[in-house]
Every structure is written in C-alpha cells, then in structure tokens.
Symmetry: C2
Subunit: 381 residues, 2 copies
C-alpha cells in the first residue's frame, strides 16, 4: 500500500524484470496480467474468484462504460470500484481503440474522435480531455492517454501522422489529468500512462517513445501491436521500443496475449499485460493449462474423469472432471463458461506468479525455455 503511485523495480534477470506498483488501492506485483472486465464485470467470473486467483488489478473499458451505464452515473454511485465490487486497483483504457473497432461513423480530427454508439446510435465526442475526465469519474487507478489507433495496412505517412497526433494528445491528457488533480478529482495514488505507437516502423516507434519519455509520465504502454503481425515482428518492435523506455517506469504491452507471448514479452522487459484471451477462450470451451491448451468441445474428453489440473489451487481446474466440463460445453450451460473462464483467469495468474518466482531466483531464461517448449509441445498433441 502507498498513498502515492510508486513503481519499484526489485530485480532484473536478463531482460525480465520483477517489481511492484504500490497504490492506495493495493499493490500490483509485476510482471502482472490484468484480466479484462470490459463492462465493469470480468465475464462469467466473480470478483472474489479473481482475487482468490491472485489478481491484483483488473482492466475496464472506457468506451463501453461511457456508453452504458455512463461515467457520470458510475461516479454518482461511488465510482467503478464500488459499482463492480472490486476494491483493488483498476486500470482503464482511453476508449480510443474501441471507438475505432466498435463504433459507427467515426471521424478523427485533432480535436478528438466523433462517433456514434454501437448500442443506440447516440453521438459522442471523445477528446483527450474527455477521455481523462471519464477515467477520473470512474476512479481509475491507472489511466491511459487517448491515442490514435490507425486502421491497417497504413502508409508510413499515416503512421507518422498518428504518432504525432498521439503525442499531442498525450500532452493534453497530462494537462487535463493535472487539472483534475488540482480540482481533487484525481489523487497522487492515480497515474496516467502514455502509449507508444508507430506500427512496426523502428524510426516511428523511437520518435513516439522519445516524445513520451520526455514528458516523464509515471508509466508507458506499447500499443498497436498484436494486431495481426507475426510474433517475430511483434517481439522485434517490442524490443526496440522497451530499450528506449526508462528502467524506473512500468511498461505495459496492450492487448497481449497467449501464454507464449507473455513469456517472450517478459523476457523483453514488459511488466504489464491485458488480454481478453483467457475469458473469451473460456466462453468458447478452451482451457489453458500447464500441459497446453485443452479444447473441451473435443469428444475425447467425454469419458475423462481427470480434472484440468489436479495440482491447481483453482477449484474450477481441480475439482471438476473433463467429462463434466465437456458435457457443460456441449450443452451450452452457463456453468461451462463460468468454470472455464475461472480456470483460465487463474491459470494466467499462476503463469505470472511462476514468472515472478523464476525472475526472483535468477532462472527466468531456463524456466522460459522449458515452459514455452512444454506448452507448445502438448498443445500440438
């Protein structure tokens, strides 16, 4: 705990970093995986289950919450923590990414993004100032700057223009965050992160990173990756980006990813991740385990009395047979999605805990090689 937002780097092991972010809401142990709770709920999972699984922080989506139930309403109800019954840290995105992927009639100008709600067609304008205003209304502990997420493929000119606009918006977000803090609507325990853009262009990534680092923000995210490029291209861009970021600030790789992606990215100095993968996979009958990915739809599980993982501390992975999970998935029962989402959320936390232990003991590279091989081998089987 801390009355301020404080990142402490405890140890490095190769490129991998062990640390923690202290906030008034609690400590986030890094490397951290931040489970996605889009509309103020991690789909099919209770917050008590999340906490018991070892999650220190969840991510909520500004775009969804601003449209329904509305940021002002959540503020009147006491903020997002109370609303969703999660008292530990919450990170929110700026809404920009999801405006580009979900909203209708988007129009981007230097002022911001005008769009129509995908829910009811209502018109909205998301500016850098409004993005911060919403996140302050929600009471978000880690807030993200509004950035421009360009459609792919993009020309170098388009990518560069988006980088420059995102830098200009970062300044406006920082200034708005300072105003909110001066007005008592944001505290020293809350932080604003910048987002490095630039596609897979090394020069633009450097330009974006350097511009943000010059602003001395409390943390930096890497955006615009895992959008269809190869893992190799993603890791190469990630590596040259993190190299330009200061060691004493947390680094957050947005929207990533598979267990393999997480391990490879931690090796390149990433401290924080978010991804819908564990919960979305759970709703589609897929389980992540230490012996690889398991497709519970497959008929080979129909008679299998074994649980997903008898050694797991998560009841969903430990106490129910694969035969039962198969039955639930085939029958499209709620409990199938509930158990598999829970098991996956817990597995991702176990994976992060194992990484932190390996870094603490200075054996991350060995652990990573063994684990990546094991996960790949058995998933292919």
């Amino acid at each position: 705990m801390s009355d301020r937002f404080v990142f402490t780097l405890h140890k490095t092991d190769g490129g991998a970093r062990l640390g923690e972010i202290a906030t008034p809401r609690g400590v986030v142990r890094t490397p951290a995986f931040m489970t996605v709770g889009t509309a103020g709920t991690v789909k099919a999972v209770y917050t008590d289950q999340l906490a018991a699984a070892g999650a220190d922080i969840v991510l909520a989506n500004t775009y969804h919450l601003m449209l329904r139930p509305g940021a002002e309403r959540i503020s009147r109800l006491g903020g997002l923590h109370r609303f969703m019954r999660w008292e530990r840290p919450i990170i929110t995105d700026s809404g920009g990414f999801q405006v580009m992927s979900l909203a209708k009639l988007r129009k981007i100008t230097d002022a911001g993004v005008a769009f129509q709600s995908h829910i009811d067609g209502s018109s909205h304008l998301l500016t850098p100032e409004r993005a911060i205003g919403i996140q302050c209304l929600l009471g978000s502990d880690i807030q993200m700057q509004l950035d421009e997420c360009i459609a792919l493929p993009a020309t170098p000119q388009e990518t560069r223009a988006a980088v420059d606009r995102s830098l200009a918006w970062a300044v406006r977000c920082r200034d708005e965050f300072a105003r909110q803090a001066a007005d008592g609507r944001a505290g020293p325990g809350q932080a604003l992160f910048g987002i490095v853009q630039g596609g897979i262009d090394s020069e633009l990534r450097a330009r974006s990173a350097d511009g943000l680092v010059a602003m001395d923000l409390p943390g930096y995210a890497v955006g615009g990756l895992a959008v269809g490029e190869t893992q190799e291209a993603m890791l190469a861009t990630l590596e040259l980006t993190t190299r330009r970021l200061p060691a004493d600030k947390p680094r957050y790789l947005m929207g990533v990813g598979t267990p393999d992606d997480l391990i490879a990215s931690v090796a390149r100095g990433v401290d924080m991740f978010d991804c819908v993968m564990p919960t979305r996979a759970g709703r589609h009958g897929l389980a992540f385990t230490w012996t690889g990915k398991v497709n519970l739809k497959n008929a080979r599980h129909a008679d299998d009395p074994a649980p997903l993982d008898p050694a797991s501390t998560c009841p969903a992975a430990r106490d129910y047979s694969r035969a039962y999970l198969h039955h639930l998935v085939k029958s499209q029962e709620y409990l199938g999605a509930m158990l598999l989402s829970w098991a996956n959320v817990a597995f991702y936390q176990q994976l992060m805990a194992a990484m932190r232990a390996a870094i603490a003991e200075g054996r991350f590279a060995t652990w990573a090689a063994e684990t990546r091989a094991r996960l790949e081998e058995t998933s292919a089987a």
Copy 2:
C-alpha cells in the same frame, strides 16, 4: 443422516407439516424447495452457492441426462452426485413429462414412450423399467415412477386412461426398483415415489391416489397441476388429493411454483416442491425478494445504490446495488444471470426456512396471510 430412507413428521400446524427426510446423503428438511438442475447443473449457479443458501436437495432431469451425456456414461464416471459435484440428495424425474414437452415424434403405448431426441433426432424407448434403470444409473436418491402426462385439453376418457396406464406403470416401476435393489444397484437409502394424476377431476384424482397408496410407496407426488389452470382450481385439486394420502409419507407437488403457490400449497399439506421459476426468472432479469418481485430491466433501478435485500445472508442479494444488477442485465452480462439466479435460489430457500420456522412455532396461518399480502402488495407496486 440415515442408512435408510426415513420420513419423519415432526409437527403439524393446520394443514402445514414440518418434517424431514433422512437419507445416507443427508437430511432434507421439509417443506423443501428442490432447485432444478436440469442437465446436471443448476443454471448459472455453483453447487457451493446452493449448499450455502440452505438447499438440501436438487432435482435433475432424466430426459436430458439420458440423451446427453447418457446415463451409462454418468454411471461409469461415478454417478450424478460426483459428476455434478453435489454430494447431498438428488431427486430425478422419470423423463415422461419432458418427453411429452420436448421430444419429437412421440408415441405412447402400454409398453412405454417411443420418441426422437430433440438434440440429435436419435430414437429412444422410455419404458417404466428403463426409467428406473436410468435413475439407478444416475444414483438418484428419490426416483419418480414413469407416468403418462396427457396433453391438455383432454376428455374424461383420455384422463382416465392416463390414470390407469400410470397406475400400471407404477407397479412396473416398483417391481423394477425392487429388482435393481436385489442386484445392488439401488439401496435402502433410495426411494421410489408414485405420481397422482387425474387432471382436475376429483374422482380420477381419488382413483389415482388410492391406487398408489395401496402400493405403500415411500412417497407420493401430485403431478399434472400448474399446467395452466387457475391457482384456485390447482389448490382445490391439491386439497382433495393430499387428503387421500397417508400422513406418514412425504408429499411432493411437481413443477410448482410462485412463492404464493408454495405458501398456499404448504398450507394444504405439501412437503416438497420443484420449479424452474427462480433460475429461469434470474436469467430474465427478475428477482424474488421479501418485498415482492423486482424487474431489474426496469430503468427505475439505473441509479439505485440499494441492494436487493440488505438483510439477506446471500451475497448476491446483499452486496451488489440494483444499479449494478440493472446494468448487468441490460448489458446481457453473464454475471447478471449468475447473481440473480443465485439470489433467487437463496430467496426460495429462505422462504422455505421461514415456513418451517412458522410451523415449528405454530403460527403458520398468520405468517402465511401476512407474507402473501406483503408479496402481492409490493409486487403490484
């Protein structure tokens, strides 16, 4: 606990009865509400939540389980209790009712019911012997005879023929249950109930009840009610039926009902109920509370910080605001169905506990009148 199936009547208060059914799997306190877990899961509810809510027993549907995942498979996996992770008593229906409402190409003869699965079109024959065989494979603690559930409206001749066929099937079920017991596939802790049919015809109800009572079965159900008739007609038929049933055997009113139905039926000597209402309502945004039914879809809840019931011992009813529940329901989030199903299952158990307490203290009639007025008044508001 008991190594046999034993019903004990502790006390009567007017027509209302306080008792318990002891089985090797645990005690069922009566009057009891048996939550429906159709396909081996109470939809959107964990078995731990059920147990904590005070549920002593759940109901599973033979029709669904015989088709998927199959009774033999569940038996190989150690029985239904282990399969669904519920170690307390389980009651199963015979499958007959759901064959008539769900299956395709049904054909009833004296032999049994031939039908095609609504899932994959496969052909099946459900005989009285097979209905018991399946229930023994599942390991059901309370098994139901196969009966003929006629389509309504029916002529007196059709109703009478169904009564007589159901009586003949009851004999075959009893004989099959005895064979299964002799073969060690059913134990003295398990019981077979007969089902009184006869529509709302008092003479046929009497004929059916008398025929079953002559068989000296361990319990008797009243079937074929709550199928569209008025509550008044249901209660009149119920009253004349329970009057013919022996006082020392449990009485089970199948498929009922609303809180008001339960209270009125307990007043007429019913000991056991099952109904999909609490879980189905929960999935549709409706909550049952001591101050009436609450439709969480309604916009008037959007800004309401109050929980469903601050005095409830159920976290779903106590710890989440109506505003949050409204948001979850409007957003069609899993957690909305999860919380409301949980709250409703718990409310139904609280309702039964309150009835048992009122009977124990000899004030059931007063309690019932007050409670029925309160529930109706506020629901209408």
